[in-house]
């Protein structure tokens, strides 16, 4: 019995020990990756040696670790998809993916994960692809430390850097994405953590997500994107420690919120955007500890937004601090620092004794009548704003910070 058991176990152990390695390279038995993949068994590791492999339509349908040594290049020649993964537990590491094919019918990606679980894409480079990473209907995927760059010229002829659709528990960490349509795009995604990424110079949005509840975004940097970051139709979104910078253009936003409920926006930096934070139909958002500096409009909050709380933020050197389109206000502003505040603090408790009105008359007028912007910075407008700030008639009477801070929040 003992002997029988040993005989049975030995081949199992030994296969796990050495059978798992398939080498691919010009000096090896398998010279193409597709050969290597065909030859592999579930649980194997496929090691690809340096070189350029012109291949398309690679498919992984069983658990596998695909490792590139010194960044071998897989060139799709701008024709169709490069690699499609349909199995669980697949790791792809250390490659350079180039040239997935542009198509108006298919969303061709360099790497696509389709209905998988427990996958990992790390330390790859993606260059000049239509879509770079495309994950759909998958769970527990880690996308880590990839450098993704595209050569997008027009929105209709370019795809997204990282595209997630119907996913759960995805971790996107430490990637840099540039030159795509949207840097990171998420739709119907839950419990996802996006952290330490740098999304820059994408045509449309640095980060774009819709219908994605219970997600967290922290320590990312989104700058120089065509229209900033857009967040729509989602609940329970937690955004903290991000930088939204240099989104400067006629319809660019640092962070655009539409139909967002019960979310937190804390400790972010909004620098040099046309509009720092734009909020439309958003309810119960806690905006706390953010820095708004050198924006055209620091915050534009439409009247259909309710019960949002702005507290302990810094507003520094913005052309307009707050703009709104109504005389009604259903949001709370308290204990923010406004560099435009000219009040005093007699009891020295650090809180100004007279309230601050962050909405200028002119910004209200221009929300209602956009061509009036031609009067920007004219003397008449300055006088009008000054008069309104002392005797408010048209600006929302309740949109005040009753406890403006005297000193900047650390």
């Amino acid at each position: 019995m003992q002997l029988l058991r040993t005989i049975l176990i030995i081949p199992l152990v030994s296969s796990a020990l050495w059978a798992g390695l398939v080498e691919v390279g010009s000096d090896y038995f398998h010279t193409t990756i597709s050969d290597g993949l065909k030859a592999s068994l579930p649980g194997d590791t496929v090691r690809v040696h340096p070189g350029t492999y012109v291949e398309r339509g690679l498919a992984i349908s069983h658990t596998l670790t695909l490792i590139g040594i010194d960044n071998p290049i897989i060139d799709g020649n701008h024709n169709g998809e490069i690699l499609t993964v349909t199995a669980d537990g697949v790791t792809i590491e250390g490659f350079t993916f180039k040239g997935s094919g542009l198509s108006h019918l298919d969303e061709n990606a360099a790497v696509r994960f389709e209905e998988t679980n427990h996958g990992r894409i790390s330390h790859n480079r993606f260059e000049d692809n239509f879509f770079a990473i495309y994950i759909s209907k998958s769970e527990n995927i880690l996308i880590e430390n990839n450098a993704i760059s595209g050569l997008a010229i027009s929105e209709s002829r370019s795809g997204n850097g990282i595209h997630l659709w119907y996913c759960k528990n995805i971790n996107i960490r430490g990637n840099t994405i540039s030159g795509h349509r949207d840097g990171i795009y998420l739709e119907f995604v839950e419990q996802c953590v996006v952290t330490q990424n740098h999304s820059t110079e994408n045509l449309r949005y640095g980060l774009h997500f819709m219908f994605s509840n219970h997600n967290e975004y922290n320590n990312n940097r989104f700058d120089n994107n065509g229209a900033g970051v857009a967040v729509m139709y989602s609940r329970h979104v937690d955004m903290h420690n991000n930088v939204f910078a240099d989104n400067w253009g006629s319809s660019a936003y640092g962070l655009l919120l539409k139909d967002i409920y019960d979310s937190n926006i804390t400790d972010n930096q909004f620098n040099r955007n046309t509009v720092g934070l734009y909020s439309e139909a958003c309810n119960r958002i806690q905006v706390e500890g953010n820095n708004f500096e050198n924006n055209g409009w620091a915050v534009k909050i439409m009247a259909n937004s309710m019960d949002n709380v702005f507290t302990h933020n810094n507003f520094l050197a913005n052309t307009f601090d707050i703009a709104t389109n109504s005389r009604q206000n259903f949001n709370a502003f308290s204990q923010n620092y406004w560099n435009r505040y000219r009040g005093y603090d007699l009891d020295k408790d650090g809180i100004g004794d007279i309230p601050f009105r962050p909405v200028k008359l002119f910004s209200l007028l221009t929300e209602k009548n956009e061509p009036a912007l031609m009067l920007m910075r004219s003397i008449f407008v300055e006088i009008m704003d000054l008069a309104e700030s002392y005797i408010p008639i048209l600006t929302p009477a309740t949109l005040i910070d009753a406890e403006p801070l005297m000193r900047i929040n650390p």
């Binding site: 400067w248 006629s250 052309t319 061509p371 031609m374 920007m376 003397i379 008449f380």
Partner: protein, 260 residues
Amino acid sequence: MMTLLKIIKYQLHDLLRGKWFIIYIGVFFLLTDGLFRFGGDSGQVSLSLMNVVLFIIPLVSIIFGTMFFYNSREFMELLLSQPISRTSIFLGLYLGLTIPLSAVYLIGVGVPFIYHAGVQTGSYWILLLVGVSLTWVFTALAFLIAVLSEQRVKGIGMTIVLWLFFAILYDGIVLFILFALEDYPLEKLTLALSLFNPIDLGRILMLLQIDIAALMGYTGALFSKFYGNMFGSVVAVFALWVWCIAPLWLGYRAFSRKDF
């Protein structure tokens, strides 16, 4: 021509002896230098100077222009008794004032710019251009008023009203028009309205340079498109020219028919 140059030369001598110019140059110099020292880059300094330029230059030019014209009354009568054409006298007085005024402005603003930031940014050139243009436009308006009105007090009063109109009231009227015609597409109208006030025209030309046009949304895009191309620039410069030449010509006509 020679008499014209002689008159200009005499005017320069006369003006540079006064303290006015020292103060005027000092204000611009200290302001520009101070703004740089308080840590602004050239874009921010241009923006801060913009409000000063749009406010002070028209005011000083128009008030100083009328006062100067009234004070030159005896000098003018002396010249008129000589065989000198009225064209030479009028232009001599005008150029004799505008040349030093613009020179003072160029030195007061230009010199601190050069030693703080060098000669580079586009906004800097527009700042200088707008400042000089406004000097010429508002001096011409000043002369027109001074020729038309014999009484000093009335003349000075009129210049202040005119300055108030261009600097402040005009924008109020524009705002009123924009809200009165709210239901119509107004973008083209705003373009037209900007041409009818030299101060607004100067302000918009400068805003477009300082990359603030992005804040102005569709209107800003339209403005940058219009003033950004060759045709728009020509129209803008032409409009400033008309604002200078028209009052000057009207003033000259009144001056040449005037019975001293």
